[in-house]
């Protein structure tokens, strides 16, 4: 059984690992890759608990993907004797490891993990404060509210059904029990409402939680008074019920996608430490301690953490994190290399010219404007609606008070308190939270993840949509390859493909994938010149692939991204690489251009201008050669004209624009890939559904307003009794659940129905 499960998930190699405790299967770890983990300061930040015997550490292992991984990782103690226990949290892809200090070290643990294929991902972000634990208190509050609500309901029935007047003693017991059960709800479960309303009042803003908190407190006081004076049973069931439903709505709405992160800044991309070389000695140094003038040794596949000048080696830098462009860029000694790129071939040394936090890209993040933006958070229309609602309730309450003061002062307090009990805008809050929650869930099912409920409203308000070109409109996974020159026979193409397949360079891989058909011939004498090209004998023909200079030995010629081919030293032609538009893009743009202003910002040259203009229509704005600040500035310019901007981009170079825009949507090929901080994440293959998503967000508001109108009808019925001063607990007990439940049904039903009609 176990074997079957593991066999299906095709990761059985741990069986072998157990038989001969891993020598052959192990992946070799570069010698000093984790040397930085010996640093005291870094260790302190990473470990959650340590004394002189044991250390507890939580590591993030992105490679974890199936139950076999779980098995292997929970049996780490067989591989490394120093490890006492390891416990996996699969949803978070984390492993909690406890190890003995005298038998192993953090560095050895990391190396062990890497050698069995689970390299821990340790980023600069881990150096900052510990991540806050997931907030469980709201679930606890909901549980308690549910418990109290249920019991109070049961114990209120006798009263509603007309308990025999001879059983006064029993009635009193029920009432006091209800009173006791309502106290935890008042003091603990309703806390989120008090806190939120207190905060908003401090900012001189009346939000929806303020009248709700008021209603909860008034209901409790009035009910307590009735129980103590023995005049009635109070409205404890209504009060606890409302708290329970509202908390449930909140939790549904706040349900976050734990595996996604919307808050990533450059620190989650950057490594925690790099090697500084000084007099041929490598010392691992934490990133914040790097100063201008240091020489960094960047190994193969490592990220360049700070702007610097290349001093040694040939840099072949993959800026796909930064620009979305997957083809690496060649840099010669003496050239400036920007932070954020990943070295792809061999080791290089760079001389740091700017600190990490001052580098070109990271500076974009640390802009002061963003910090200010956080302060004036967007306000939901629901709060504005509830404000009018509250004013009206106050007017009704005051006029009722005046009326009873003149006619029958004894009825004044019952009437006024009843108004506040019945007319709290909880129905509005319920309809809002449940609709938002359901729509977030529908969108999430379609791989469009929004950061919070508030972003739904923002999406609905969008008037202008700005696209990034590279990586957003075009795909990074496919290259469009065209060949120019003397035409090659199928036989020759196979030879070229065979040679290209030998190299791990991204261009070679793309070319091999493009050309390969069937079985490829053998290659002899393969030789790779880093940054130049590859050569080798295929079926006794010498074939060279690479730059113009490499292939012909003549001075270089600039022709964009191209691979030249020579067979037996005769130049044949070149393969031109260009961007490949995602298949669904033209349909998407065609739909969007009817309703929205469109713009495209590209860091590239304007070679694609005509093509894009055709796709986007004449009204669209196209801008090329855009640097990250240019993109940001363009968005701000649009906002100054009163546009609500949605920015759709990927890569770090869009990060500024994504943050500046009213709603920034990051495009990801896979959702567990890294995306810059944004308000939403969309999977690339779902881009075509964007117009539908926007329509659904529009509908959100209509549903909320419609159910609000319904709740006003309920309120009017309730108020009719309340102003007369004879709101019986029975009426309240019937009105409250029916209004709540019918609103739940309407919001859930209509949003789900709408989604189904849209085929989402």
């Amino acid at each position: 059984m176990v074997y079957q499960i593991l066999n299906q998930s095709d990761l059985c190699d741990y069986y072998d690992l157990n038989k001969n405790p891993g020598i052959s299967q192990r992946i070799n770890v570069r010698k000093d890759k984790f040397a930085f983990l010996e640093d005291e300061k870094i260790q302190n930040k990473l470990t959650s608990f340590r004394n002189d015997k044991q250390v507890h550490v939580t590591l993030y292992l992105p490679q974890m993907h199936c139950s076999s991984c779980l098995y292997l990782l929970e049996n780490l103690h067989r591989i490394d004797e120093g490890i006492i226990s390891s416990k996996v949290n699969f949803t978070r892809k984390e492993v909690d490891i406890v190890f003995l200090v005298n038998k192993t070290t953090l560095r050895k643990v990391a190396e062990t993990l890497t050698s069995i294929g689970y390299e821990p991902y340790i980023s600069l972000n881990d150096l900052k404060e510990k991540r806050p634990a997931i907030n469980k208190s709201m679930v606890l509050q909901l549980g308690i509210a549910g418990f109290c609500f249920g019991n109070i309901m049961l114990m209120s029935f006798p009263e509603y059904l007309g308990i025999d007047t001879t059983e006064v003693g029993l009635r009193t017991i029920f009432r006091w029990l209800n009173f006791g059960l309502a106290i935890p709800v008042l003091l603990y479960s309703a806390l989120p409402f008090y806190i939120s309303s207190f905060k908003s009042l401090k900012h001189k803003f009346l939000n929806i939680d303020a009248p709700i908190a008021l209603a909860i407190i008034i209901t409790f006081i009035r009910s307590a008074y009735e129980v103590i004076s023995g005049t009635g049973g109070g409205y404890f069931d209504s009060m606890t019920g409302i708290v329970f439903f509202m908390l449930a709505g909140r939790i549904l709405q706040d349900k976050t996608y734990r595996q996604l992160s919307f808050e990533r800044d450059y620190t989650s991309y950057f490594p925690i430490a790099v090697s500084i070389t000084k007099d041929d000695v490598e010392t691992p140094t934490a990133l914040p301690d790097i100063k201008p003038g240091d020489t960094l040794l960047i190994h193969n596949e490592e990220l360049i953490p700070a702007d610097g000048i290349l001093t040694k080696g040939k840099a072949f830098i993959d800026y796909s994190f930064v620009t979305g462009e997957s083809l690496p860029v060649l840099k010669e000694v003496g050239e400036l290399v920007y932070a954020g790129g990943k070295q792809t071939e061999g080791n290089i040394e760079i001389l740091v010219v700017k600190e990490v936090a001052q580098s070109y890209l990271t500076k974009l993040w640390n802009r002061d404007e963003f910090k200010k933006n956080e302060a004036n958070k967007k306000v939901s229309f629901v709060h504005l609606l509830s404000r009018y609602f509250t004013y009206i309730v106050f007017v009704i309450a005051i006029s009722t008070a005046i009326y009873w003061q003149l006619n029958d002062p004894a009825k004044l307090w019952p009437a006024v308190t009843a108004i506040f009990i019945i007319a709290c805008p909880c129905a509005l809050l319920l309809s809002n939270t449940f609709t938002n929650g359901n729509i977030l869930q529908i969108l999430g099912r379609n791989h469009f993840y929004l950061r919070s409920a508030q972003t739904i409203e923002e999406v609905a308000k969008v008037t202008h949509i700005v696209f990034d070109k590279t990586g957003t409109l075009t795909s990074t996974q496919h290259q469009h390859i065209t060949y120019e020159g003397t035409s090659l026979t199928a036989y020759q193409l196979q030879q070229v493909a065979a040679l290209a397949a030998c190299s791990s360079h991204p261009l070679s891989k793309a070319l091999a994938k493009h050309l390969a058909e069937g079985k490829l011939p053998q290659v002899a004498g393969f030789k790779e010149t880093i940054g130049e090209g590859i050569e080798g004998f295929v079926q006794n023909d010498l074939i060279k692939l690479g730059s113009y200079h490499f292939v012909t030995r003549l001075a270089s010629r600039q022709t964009g991204t191209a691979i030249f081919v020579s067979i037996e030293s005769r130049l044949q032609g070149f393969f031109q690489f260009s961007n490949h538009y995602r298949g669904e893009i033209s349909g998407l743009l065609h739909q969007l251009k009817k309703d929205y202003q469109l713009s495209v910002l590209s860091g590239d040259n304007d070679a694609e201008k005509n093509n894009l203009q055709h796709l986007l229509g004449k009204k669209a704005t196209l801008r090329f050669h855009q640097k990250p600040e240019d993109k940001l500035r363009y968005i701000r310019h649009l906002q100054d004209q009163g546009e609500k901007v949605m920015m759709i981009g990927d890569g770090l170079n869009d990060a500024g624009a994504l943050k500046q825009s009213n709603i920034g949507v990051a495009v990801a090929e896979q959702t567990n890939n890294f995306t810059p901080s944004s308000d939403g994440i969309i999977e690339a293959k779902q881009l075509a559904l964007l117009p539908k998503f926007i329509r659904l967000c529009h509908a959100n508001r209509n549903i909320v307003v419609a159910s609000f109108v319904l709740s006003i009808v309920y309120n009017i019925i309730g108020l009719f009794f309340a102003v007369q001063g004879n709101l019986s607990p029975l009426i309240a007990a019937i009105l409250m659940p029916t209004s709540s439940l019918s609103i739940l049904l309407i919001t859930f039903g209509s949003s789900s129905l709408l989604a189904r009609r849209m085929n989402l």
């Binding site: 176990v2 157990n18 699969f90 949803t91 978070r92 997931i134 606890l140 418990f147 019991n151």
Partner: protein, 52 residues
């Protein structure tokens, strides 16, 4: 009447036990990872003897 009071005490006690169980479950993180525990139970201590 006294029967009702006994029943009352019994019912609230049972409900409270469930509440405590729920709170304990939430606090100890049982709802956070719904993948590892069910798979973990399938693994025997010695995989070499459980291949059948």
């Amino acid at each position: 009447m006294s029967v009702i009071i006994i029943l009352l005490i019994a019912s609230i006690t049972v409900a409270a036990l469930f509440l405590i169980a729920f709170l304990w479950g939430v606090k100890s993180g049982q709802f956070e990872d719904d993948y590892s525990p069910p798979s973990r139970i399938l693994f025997d201590d010695k995989p070499s003897s459980s291949k059948e």
